[in-house]
Symmetry: C2
Subunit: 465 residues, 2 copies
């Protein structure tokens, strides 16, 4: 019977302390979303294969967790496939792809974007546009697990669709700023505009190579300017194009200086000039916001270029060296894949796991977010614990998390429980205290003890938490 | 491209209003759990097949959603099984059972109890006992969907393990009472004790037939006393046994009267007398609690008898005719299945979907739990909306959920948005208002409008929400 206990690789259990910290993080993010008028939605963990497949590219599709049909799924297998498998067993990997679709018709969601698009199309008649929604739910990917990468993790997405006003982009900057300010983290908000990237390709004669251009550009951070140059040369970009790009791309100038040099370079590109105009409008709106965070135009930022059509946003931690902790942008055709074209939207996704790691490394979780029970009543026996009940009730009315130790066992053991559970306050009401109507309040960190009348206990505890 | 959008049968999308209501429900339950010192945990959506299978009986096992192994899963299929399927395709249902285990090694959790037991065993060295935990997560079952029964639904479990004190049972009564009192629902808490049931079987000479005895007894509610009698006779129970049971079982007396007659009947059964003692102790502790809810000893209550060993608890709504909305009990061996025997615990599970339905039917959701954005600032153009930004910021600091309409489109359309989104308050700052520093505050329900100085807006709004 002594079964080994384990969980699937890449998944995690969350015990009380990580859970309280995670709840603090999610509650902070959620409360900011709500204050800006975003509304919650939730979609099922499972979607149909039809909804999910073909949306994440060939590599992405392989990472979708399929759910085996219930009951007699083997009855759905085509005979010729079985024969193929028996005759050429070394081709089982190829057979698996076809077989998977014969024995499975649903899968776990891979992200929140495709389910959101599906939701919008399916419920378009009930939705009031512009639709501001947030969604905080786990997603599943059959990725190779490694440090910081899990097979089950939460995404926190916030999007507004059905409006192409740049006020929406500006508001997202404010939301990002508010979230990280409330969390006490220092960040840099980097942004770019897809139209500027397209303009750069166009103005330098690389119009047809936009993807090649940006895929390399996106690596600048990691490989440096010289390597970027080499990659472009290898890709066959004309030297003149590269010479035009380098001063702008490599510029260490301010956002303002970058815009000035862009204006010269992109003069001939209508798309590029539109991108600059968008950036300038956005900056004008944001200038009234008094943001705590630094913001910076980063012309190398591309993030899934094929998806974004306007603003591109990415947040870096200034406290800890880690990948981006939030990102997103403007897209023009969220729901086209489900036959509802022309729905423009803009949104960002907060990387909960990475933000958790940053908070952890800078000791950024407030102590209240890591405290479960605040007051433990020791149990000196049935009469004494009965005396504690109405007092505990009073405390709970005041919002204090408290508990009465359930067993009348050795006091040492009960204090040990308080200590191990990191409960900061202990109330002791023995026989004498019960008769006198005075409890002993013990501060676990200092060991200090004070006598407090029953009627003053709640007030006294409130002072210290 | 016009793809039909749908979700797997038995699953649900939750739009903003149901989500806000659900959050209200979960937040209420969660906050009560926390006030009593229960701590949150979460386990992965997927568990290994080894953890889940064989824990829910043959029927339950069939309802577990298995996840197809990623990649070359077909390579794991045994050749003889393939040949069997080709030779006797009509046996595909039987083959499916074996095949499932060759191409799947993990599955979606079916309840929160087995994952909790697995969690406790796996983390026993980190856990401080008694361990008070709550867990609110979805579970998945391949049940036939029908009204009120879904393939994805939430469970809200609260348990304390590692203590056999009856204070724990009493506290659960208080928690149940607090939750439903806060939700404004009227309930009846029914309870029983497995030891009393065992005692009844023993004292009436049915000792070996405890399961048969209680399976029928459990139906009393539905089929009535006469039918229960008939079923017992059919099962071959001696007439004398039945004659002894009927007066006790069928008693419409008070809890006190039931205990009196039990004491006579169970005199000869040590187990039975222990059960009565437990009930009396429990009632004594609870009597100090001033519960709002009615409580009642129901000797026909059995609920998964093979699992419970002491108290059995079930909650019925007094507002709406519906199945039990919360239930649980004491168990003596939660973790034995994973090789850690002797861990006693007691807990209850709140049926979120049913409680939601009850609240819905009695119009029990407070209006604040159904309001998203509280204030909409109309957008009269870039300068006006820029004026709104710092005012909106002030409101958010005061906890007011507000938004600025993103587009400077027709005012009629913007008001329509407020109306359809059920936003109760609208702030209008046109050019004149901007210059005068006075906004127009419009109450959407009455249509009333008042002029309010910018600096007083937050205060004015706070008065009305």
């Amino acid at each position: 019977m002594n079964q080994k206990t384990s969980i699937p690789k890449g998944t995690r259990d969350f015990g009380p302390v990580p859970m309280m910290r995670r709840n603090y993080l999610f509650d902070t993010i959620r409360s900011v979303f709500q204050l800006f008028g975003y509304l919650p939605i939730e979609t099922p963990a499972m979607e149909t294969l039809e909804t999910l497949m073909g949306k994440y590219g060939e590599e992405g599709d392989k990472l979708v967790f399929k759910i085996l049909n219930s009951g007699d799924f083997a009855g759905g297998i085509k005979m010729d496939l079985l024969e193929q498998l028996i005759q050429v067993p070394e081709n089982s990997a190829i057979v698996s792809r076809t077989l998977g679709n014969q024995i499975s018709e649903k899968a776990l969601r891979y992200d929140l974007t495709v389910p959101f698009a599906r939701f919008v199309v399916q419920h378009k008649d009930e939705i009031t546009f512009p639709f501001k929604r947030y969604q905080i739910q786990p997603v599943w990917r059959a990725d190779r697990p490694q440090k910081g990468r899990y097979r089950e993790f939460y995404q926190c997405d916030v999007d507004v669709i059905g409006s192409d006003s740049l006020l929406n982009e500006a508001e997202l900057f404010k939301i990002i700023d508010d979230v990280f300010n409330q969390l006490g983290l220092n960040i840099l908000i980097k942004f770019n505009n897809r139209k500027i990237l397209a303009g750069l390709a166009e103005a330098t004669g690389l119009g047809d190579n936009l993807t090649d251009f940006t895929v390399t550009l996106d690596k600048l951070d990691k490989i440096g300017l010289e390597q970027v140059k080499q990659e472009w040369l290898l890709k066959g970009f004309p030297t003149e194009s590269i010479e035009m790009l380098i001063p702008v791309i490599g510029s260490a100038g301010s956002t303002f200086e970058k815009i000035v040099s862009l204006k010269t370079l992109l003069q001939g590109s209508a798309t590029g000039m539109k991108g600059i105009e968008e950036v300038e409008t956005l900056l004008k709106i944001i200038s009234a916001f008094n943001l705590h965070s630094k913001i910076e135009l980063d012309l190398t930022l591309a993030r899934g270029l094929n998806y974004y059509t306007g603003a591109i946003i990415e947040v870096k931690s200034l406290d800890v060296q880690i990948g981006s902790i939030c990102g997103g942008g403007r897209y023009d055709d969220l729901t086209g894949i489900f036959g509802m074209p022309g729905v423009s939207g803009v949104g960002v996704s907060f990387g909960a796991d990475r933000i958790y790691d940053v908070l952890d490394q800078v000791n950024g979780f407030p102590s209240l977010a890591q405290t479960g029970t605040q007051v433990l009543f020791l149990n000196f026996g049935p009469d004494e614990s009965a005396t504690c009940q109405p007092i505990a009730d009073q405390m709970r009315l005041a919002g204090i998390r408290c508990e009465i130790y359930p067993d009348g066992c050795k006091i040492k053991k009960q204090l040990q429980y308080a200590d191990q559970s990191k409960i900061p306050l202990v109330v002791m009401i023995g026989e004498n205290e019960r008769i006198a109507g005075q409890a002993v309040l013990k501060f676990m960190s200092s060991g200090e003890q004070v006598n407090v009348a029953f009627s003053d206990l709640t007030k006294e505890v409130m002072k210290t938490i």
